[in-house]
Subunit: 218 residues, 4 copies
């Protein structure tokens, strides 16, 4: 019997002044679920520059995923953000959970300046829109641990696992968090989970070319 | 046998370039439901200055509600807005559904400048927060048909139905609308319905004084 | 020789975590200036519920102004806000400069629920637009000391000084403040001063009816 | 006599529904000015994918600048945006001034995925803050003609003019534009010009290492 392929979904531990992180909730809820014949492995990464990359690498070595979707919280955004660009830069505006705040460092020395996501972003954009889920393509994942993990996974995939498809997705606050953040935008956990499930369903399907714009004038 | 008390919930017909209006969806979904012994009458008002007030008045005369919650769409807001102030002013930035665009007119000549909502807003604020629903008190319902209906109902209650409790609540875009409005904030319909149901449950209960701020510095 | 008429311009002392308040800077800069034959008296009110109203009343008694424009800071707004509605409500989200934080109190017991500004707002809107100054009409001055002073002056004018024209105008952050507030919108002090000078020039002129909308849909 | 070094400042022609573009106004106003011994050449690029890159290349060949600062409009932002990352991607959300709307194309085939700006961004950040000018580092210049020109200049500098320092800066709406864009944030032209002048003064000075964060959590 053929073993099911693995989709690795990672979230992050809560950070800064938040007691929860929707990305971790999603990873936990989807863990063990079978989606389109793929088994989800959900895991939570530490929000620490020193430990997040090796945690992710260990998970990849353990589970040999066919698909890798790393998730993070983008507090204040109102939609699911399909990140297109990982940059080789760390510039921490706040300290991570271990108290580290590196500034103007490379994620990986001697690696390229940036990678594009290998997820089929335009197909995902159309699919989520069809499900009435607010979604957009984003051209910056920031310069904190989220971007570090995104760049790290893109470099790993490019250099060691070329057959694996992977990328990064930012999610909004949960409604209960918005109450603590000056009435910021939010999205219900159910819809966030539905979005990630839809991404897993669509990411490995053969896609016809999708000539739609997801661009930004600035 | 005692007839159940009535809670009248009104929404508005879609307006401007929107094909749907969450306030109408909520009114339709809650229609006929029994909440805490109150029967909901849900109705949709025309988004027209000429017809909205008389439509509301007819509904009040027909149903003799004990509670009246008028709903409207506040596209771009991220939370349930408990409106505190109805003003005696119409100033239409856009035309209504009949093409009328009155500017600088009173809602009702010889009526006061403003009314405060008679809903127990601080108790509602606490109750919705306890349900993890984004919510805030708002100090302006605008100067369009929403404010016209809010002022009209407040004047009716003050002058003819002093025993009826009533007010106005603005709701955010639905997720599928946000996609068409530059990724504006939105709230799932389920959560919007849960919010209005919670308001009906709480509005007529005896409330101890709630000394919490819901204010704005500007 | 005829004594010049007085235009009283008040600002507020800095409050919360801000070290300066543009409204006070404007009042100080305009103090003593002659605009269209009117002499400006600029003064700074304490940002304290207990002292602001009597400070304003004393200034009115001393100077017998023909025009009264009270100014306040609305941090985060990007334009000059011509406030249209003063409400008889105090609900302090933060403490004032004396540490007081009244909640759900009337500004003046037994006074009306609200007053409209007696400034010719539509004429001011057109005039400032013609000067390329970002400007809008606002329908809420909040529930803090700004609204308290606005309501207090409107009540004084309505009950004791019916010949005096007066109202309230909110101004944005200065650029140097925006740097400390998460890159909020701001306006240069020169432009803020030009705006208030233009308001003084226009407020007492006979205005033909200005049928333009300055409304809000919510 | 030694010829002065050249600083090339480019702006863009107005696009979309705007009749003016502050980036072009700045380039015109600074043209011919001598700043710290450098002579400014100010020029306006067409907002057209087909013509902008060759226009820029011609200017570089003509003027042999020591410093190159390309400017563009970022309508809605409230601060001077020092762009850090140019990406090798075009995805036009709207048509350019020639009606072209390329989607998912490389700026330059076989070029790297991205370049970082070679301007000393942290030194510029500190210098502008010291002048009370709202400023931030941005991690996305979009995917329109601005990013195309930014990537094109970064590639030229990296491959053919390694001694030239250059980058891209986005500027906010002018106040008169904000009036037409739903009261968006804006910045006075004088302050925008002062900002670019300060960038020219600082960009080529030897800078001690500036260990300050300009990062973003997302």
């Amino acid at each position: 019997m053929k073993k099911p392929r693995i989709a690795l979904i990672t979230g992050f531990a809560p950070f800064a002044d938040d007691a929860l992180n929707p990305s971790a909730e999603i990873a936990r809820k989807l863990h063990g679920e079978i989606i389109d014949g793929m088994r989800i492995v959900g895991a939570v990464l530490p929000t620490e520059f020193a430990r997040a990359p090796s945690s992710l690498e260990t998970l990849i070595e353990q589970h040999h995923p066919a698909l890798l979707v790393a998730l993070g919280l983008a507090g204040g955004r109102s939609e699911i953000s399909l990140e297109r660009v990982a940059i080789n830069l760390i510039d921490a505006r706040i300290a991570d959970n271990a108290g580290a705040q590196p500034i103007d460092e490379a994620v990986i020395a001697d690696a390229p300046t940036a990678y594009f996501s290998s997820l089929p972003l335009k197909a995902l954009l159309l699919h989520l829109r069809g499900l009435d889920i607010p979604v957009a393509i984003s051209y910056s994942a920031g310069t904190f641990v989220c971007n570090q993990v995104f760049f790290g996974l893109a470099h790993l995939l490019a250099t060691r696992y070329p057959a694996v498809i992977g990328g990064f997705v930012h999610v909004p606050y949960l409604p209960q968090q918005a109450l603590l953040h000056n009435d910021a935008a939010s999205m219900a956990l159910d819809m966030q989970i539905a979005a990630i499930r839809a991404i897993v369903e669509t990411a490995l399907k053969p896609n016809i070319a999708r000539i739609i714009s997801g661009g930004a004038t600035h």
